[in-house]
Assembly symmetry: none
Homo-oligomer: 423 residues x 2
Amino acid sequence: MTVELISVGTEILMGNIVNTNAAFLSAQCVALGLSCYHQSVVGDNEGRMEEAMQTALSRSELVLISGGLGPTRDDLTKEVAAKVMEKKLVMDMRTRDRIQAYFDRIKRPDITENNWKQAVVPEGAIVLDNDNGTAPGLILEKEGKAMILLPGPPGELLPLFQKKVRPYLEQLQEEKMYSCMVKICSVGESRAETMVADLLEGQTNPTIAPYAKTGEVHFRITAREKTQEAAELLMEPVLKEMKRRFGSRIYTVREEETLEEVVVRLLEQGRLTITTVESCTGGLLSGQLVNVPGASKVLERGFVTYSNEAKIQMVGVSPVTLEEMGAVSQETAEEMAEGGRKAAGADVGISITGVAGPGGGTEEKPVGMVCMACSIRGEIRRETFYFSGDREKIRKSSVVQGLNLIREELLKYLEGQISGESA
Amino acid sequence: MTVELISVGTEILMGNIVNTNAAFLSAQCVALGLSCYHQSVVGDNEGRMEEAMQTALSRSELVLISGGLGPTRDDLTKEVAAKVMEKKLVMDMRTRDRIQAYFDRIKRPDITENNWKQAVVPEGAIVLDNDNGTAPGLILEKEGKAMILLPGPPGELLPLFQKKVRPYLEQLQEEKMYSCMVKICSVGESRAETMVADLLEGQTNPTIAPYAKTGEVHFRITAREKTQEAAELLMEPVLKEMKRRFGSRIYTVREEETLEEVVVRLLEQGRLTITTVESCTGGLLSGQLVNVPGASKVLERGFVTYSNEAKIQMVGVSPVTLEEMGAVSQETAEEMAEGGRKAAGADVGISITGVAGPGGGTEEKPVGMVCMACSIRGEIRRETFYFSGDREKIRKSSVVQGLNLIREELLKYLEGQISGESA
């Protein structure tokens, strides 16, 4: 079954935003076993949009369209799609009520008139309720083909696809795609690929595809089978081989699990609490940990110690260490982690101090040099990393490697606990 | 003059990589005053590539194609382009020498045979030397139209475009595009557009285009003119009218300036320091402020006070307030901001405490309810927001509105300073 993507939006054509939706949707469709041969982008222009839709429908069975469903007069996607699929537009009372409830919830009583445009839908369309915005998703079917419309903002498109579109696409085909995700940090992309080059070569079922994101590499293993059990049997040897090669550098094989979730899970498992002491990342690491619902059980407080005075006063770093070794040093990192841990009365302390740039680098301590320490009840590991890229990339990489450092130390600690108990 | 982009690459179609080249090339073309109405993506397939090229040539004067110029048998772009433009392929001795020199430079004496394929060019093509790789860029002209081929890796494409393609495109046209960006927070997208609906209507030169991102709305005003001065004259009345309508809700009109940069700039202007006290955002606000290079001058420390104990011990919130009003209340927010300000010895304190969900919401305090306070030397403003979306969106919206709250209070404070001085 073939699928084709059309992204609608002048901001994509003008280069104001990068089309991450297309990458997300393509990857999802490929994972579902659909073949995707074309992607296109058009602006909010009736004629060109209609032409793009007609062309796509003539060569693909499914057309996935994102963007242009909002309340403004620029938003034409629904209207043009209805024309191409020969459907009348009608008011959908359920959607009207949902929009009303949405505005009630965010306490905006003054709903502007143009918002009601979003409650108008092509007759007979499957309406996909949008929990994160006003415009619903829509599926229009005609003569064995379907056009699927999704709102453009990624915060609305992603959950709507996962919750509503994916089940719709799944029931269209007999064999399903099952996949698992091998997520790795602390190995670079090209090195990771080299380590499994022979597995990537000539793969058919299951397939293995690498994806890189800042500080991490993910491999998706996908099998096409009629049942979950049969698919798992197919994937098992590949998964086993990858585990053998990457070992504990794999932090999860569950698609939906994030690195910070693994860290929170391990902390809960060991009934441990954690505190953060951040300099160059300025709170990003604690911010990421708190992204896990229920993080309050393990993280009670954190310190942003940007200046030397803050490091001394908040977490008791020694002025002598700062003077002699510098703020960016393993010694300072160690005192930050251990001092923060004690000040917070926590079991685990993690610290990050580095040169994020663009200024402040020296020959000895270049931009991108970041020192970290992790203390579990006084057992301390120190690390120095040298990251590339701009300020933002250095800070993001620091957060990933900081989380990974905690993870590695927790694994060791928990292992010690178990062998201690059994001894 | 119209331009159209074709990105060649199975890895884009499969969603393995995000098409950042398209965003870069579009933005560059728009800045050069070219009109871009279509982008498309095709895989390394001869038939589909030829069809895409023919379609593009039929409707656009310039076709910019990236990817598929490498040494492997998959790389077909040049061959298909030569066919479509009816050119013979010939060996280019200068390119052959350059490739030889390239391999000498990176000390790889063992050049594989397939590399010489890259020295073959369509007869009469303008060859664009690639300093960062082996495959040259190529410009093929025919009957007043041109096809421009560029290698896919961004590290090769970007400099090649800047150094070789941009001058070629510049000499093709007389007028250029100039633009500025009106950036607004604290007004929703549909409301913002309603406020300028009449300006958006029937615009030609300059044009106004709205863009939404979490918690913000941006309007790009673009003028097409021969000189910067003439363009600014065209844009001035529109800009003035937008300033009249949105007032201080516009935080900048500079394309590259971010909200956190404005906050840091205003703090520096008033020679003020700031501290952050965060609960549900867990450090994201301080993390965002620290993203501004040189933020150390204004932010010396911050507090992540996730638990009630942390709020009491770190910034002196009263247990009675927490007991009677709750952790998510304007009263607690006020004590967090003011207590944190005093504990840090800072001029400004900003606090955020809310229900980010998914659990923890009640009828009285639903998920998405976020209380904030901003204190400038004891002058306090308190606010309650009701955000929609999931945990991540609520937290992101909180950061944007928290930054905006500081900005608004700083503007008032600085105005007071000025009128105080002149009194």
